[in-house]
Amino acid sequence: MQTALRTSLPETELASRANFAPHARVLREERPAQTSGLPLSIRALRKSYGDNEVLRGIDLHIPAGQFVAIVGKSGCGKSTLLRLIAGLEKFDAGSISLGDAVKPEDIRVMFQEPRLLPWARVLSNVEVGLGRDRSSSDAHTRAEKALTEVGLTDKRDQWPSVLSGGQKQRVALARALVSRPRVLAFDEPLGALDALTRISMQRLLERVWRDQGFTAILVTHDVAEAVALADRVLVIEEGRIAHDVVVNTARPRERGSAELAGLEGSILSHLLSADDRT
């Protein structure tokens, strides 16, 4: 897979764009000192399916290690943007740059469905995530470590069919984490879970992100989830970034606090006002 090979910007331009990102410096203090994440630069990105133009010029810079949430109504192009970043689809115009020397294992995606192999035990499902390293001698230990991180060590020899929805999604997370990715893209990973499982999964996502310092991109339709987890919330409307909202609340965040609720309310009103206009 050629996920990493994109048209990349010249080095100098990349650096200057990083400097121009206004909130990047403010947020950097919150994050662990050493981030393994990759910075992400997107310029004038366009994508159409037939006559339907889904993305109409996206310009975006994400500093290394930032947690970005992308919200928007269904069909606004948020999932398409994520699929383009992850290299699952080709774009029509523009560029996506992830810095230099990116290996395929550096970018991982987690979907709404766990997509586990039903005929492989939990541990070998996690080993799938090692990519080209899955036949190496330490594959087992690495997979076990990733399972420990999501708290499922005791399920290592089970078939996926006996796990609950939340457990399956945690195995999928372990599979995504096992290669130590530097960008992790989430496509509504908690959309199919019940409310309580969803909250504990959100905590888990936040914890592994803080531990490992990858750049996280979360597509969600749940604005509360976006403000609870992200450093920055992007609102996409009609194929463009309509709003870019910084969430400066200190972590660990208290769910349902007035600050987050206010932010959620203002983002929701953005989304709803766009609804009125159409």
Partner: protein, 268 residues
């Protein structure tokens, strides 16, 4: 420990050995009723010989070595025909499931051939091969081909595309994708094909042997009819039933071994 034992007692009370025997109650009861009906003269032995007579006939044929030889010949024809037809069907199923070009090229033709009842080819096959071994093998292979082909094709076409995308994202090569995602995903459907094919295998072979053969179970039954040995005819029919059951059980065991991940094959 004793507490656990007493708690789990009601469940272990159903002996597993007994479970395996339950399925034989009905066949044994039928044989018992049949025996009684024959002995009392309710069913004349000219119409249907008593089970004891059938067993006696079987015993005689067993001693003369004729029974074993005929079963062996039929078994050999069935397996070789199954292997040939099954592998060709599997190969076409794979090719047409994985390649658009191959599918466009051959699927229509195969569907047309499928709609010809393969037993209708017997006159032609006799003209081509005589009553040689190859005639039987050809018919069995042809009969077995279609269920295996169709179910392999269906299995591969219905592998979850999301899993295939996942495999690609995680950098699986084409070979690895086939081995780890596509083939295991198609396997349940392939087994359905195998079980269908086993039924067709016996059917074809017996019909072919009754019409054109000089050995085998079908031939034995036809010979017996010539000499009015009705007990041997009934014996042959019972052996077909047993062999069919045996083939089905073998495929079930294989299925259970290879699909142990499948929720349908997990205990409790």
């Amino acid at each position: 420990m004793s507490l656990i034992d007493s708690v789990s007692f009601p469940r272990s009370f159903r002996l597993p050995r007994l479970d395996g025997l339950i399925q034989w109650i009905v066949p044994l009861a039928i044989i018992a009723i049949w025996q009684v009906a024959s002995v009392t003269g309710f069913v004349p032995t000219r119409v249907l010989p008593a089970p004891s007579d059938v067993m006696l006939a079987g015993w005689k044929l067993l001693l003369s070595g004729e029974l074993v030889r005929n079963i062996w010949v039929s078994f050999w024809r069935a397996s070789i025909g199954f292997l040939i037809g099954g592998s060709i069907g599997f190969a076409f199923g794979l090719a047409n499931g994985l390649s658009q070009l191959s599918s466009k090229l051959t699927d229509t033709t195969l569907q047309m051939v499928r709609n010809v009842p393969h037993l209708a080819l017997i006159p032609l096959v006799i003209l081509w091969f005589g009553i040689d071994e190859s005639a039987k093998l050809f018919l069995v292979a042809l009969g077995v081909f279609f269920p295996i082909y169709l179910n392999t094709l269906h299995g591969i076409r219905t592998v979850d595309p999301q899993l295939i995308e996942m495999g690609r994202i995680y950098g699986m090569s084409d070979g690895e994708l086939f081995r780890r995602v596509i083939f295991p995903g198609a396997l349940p459907s392939i087994f359905v094909g195998i079980r269908f094919a086993l039924g067709i295998m016996w059917l074809t072979l017996i019909v072919a042997e009754t019409i054109a053969a000089s050995s085998g179970l079908g031939y034995m039954a036809m010979q017996a009819r010539e000499f009015m040995l009705i007990d041997v005819v009934v014996l042959s029919i019972l052996i077909y039933a047993l062999l069919g059951k045996l083939a089905d059980s073998a495929s079930r065991v294989l299925e259970r071994l290879m699909l142990s991940w499948h929720p349908a094959f997990q205990k409790r």
